[in-house]
Symmetry: C2
Subunit: 168 residues, 2 copies
């Protein structure tokens, strides 16, 4: 995947270029946003590598984890896609694969013919538990984020996400 570490942070370099070209007032936001994207891609790669032996990706893990927390054990697709904050089409894609491997079932809604309910299967629950254990041990417990940075990061991003209309 990644080569050896670069001698100089390329995002910091881009930031300097921004300043040098007269866009100083946008430089910090540019650097922060670019760094967020890069960081997300690093974490996604790590998560997917950890989940691969479980036959999962991070996207599919999130679906399982959400179902595992739902009181009833079942959730309409629409509700799940809202909570996961992905498009309905992305969820359709993930669920197709989860259903094909027997981790999740689509069941008819008792009263609304449009709605399909997602349910974890017994096997889905097993895979979820094993995958979550691994993610906790190998990703979240060794995230390369210092404790204070993790909380600060979450707070900054919460302010941003609220300002951007993610939630109230």
């Amino acid at each position: 995947m990644l080569n050896s570490p670069l001698p100089r942070d390329p995002i910091a370099q881009a930031r300097e270029q921004w300043v040098a070209h007269g866009w100083a007032s946008e430089a910090n936001a540019m650097a922060a946003i670019t760094a967020v994207m890069r960081t997300a891609s690093i974490f996604l790669q790590r998560a997917d590598a950890i989940l691969k032996p479980h036959g999962l990706t991070f996207a599919r893990f999130e679906v399982l984890a959400l179902l595992g927390f739902s009181k009833r054990g079942s959730l309409p697709m629409s509700h799940a896609s809202e909570l996961l904050q992905v498009h309905a089409t992305s969820l359709t894609n993930s669920v197709d694969r989860l259903e094909a491997t027997g981790l999740v079932q689509r069941v008819a809604h008792p009263t609304d013919g449009r709605t399909r309910l997602l349910e974890l299967t017994a096997q889905g629950l097993e895979v979820l538990d094993a995958a979550r254990t691994d993610l906790n041990a190998q990703l979240f417990a060794q995230s390369d984020l210092e404790a204070a940075d993790a909380t600060d990061l979450f707070e900054i991003l919460s302010r941003f996400r609220r300002a951007s209309g993610d939630f109230l």
Copy 2:
């Protein structure tokens, strides 16, 4: 794209579930990492929407911007993919599209037959300037990140990226 704001932050909810199930020590990293991914996806959608009228995506914009800053005006693919921190195959994909629309050219390296140099065309330079102006005005200058948060965010992510081996 996005529905109406949710009444409650779903990542904060997941964090509570993590604590409630006995994974309290991993909860903050889980929440921070999930928030980074969500934030990246929000910014990527915004950037792509702004760049669409220019016939660009953020991935392709980054290639143009990098070439625009290079002293020579040309850069080997390998060097570009290192600086952009994406796989060589991803760059091949972007450059194929940039070349197809005439914004970039692949030229032979004078002495190394393996290497292909990327060059901005005149049209590529024009598109870059226009796209960058729009991104600065519509994304970076109105990022929903407060000034202090943008700098803190960049610093936290720089520490993380260094610790993760992104750069020295």
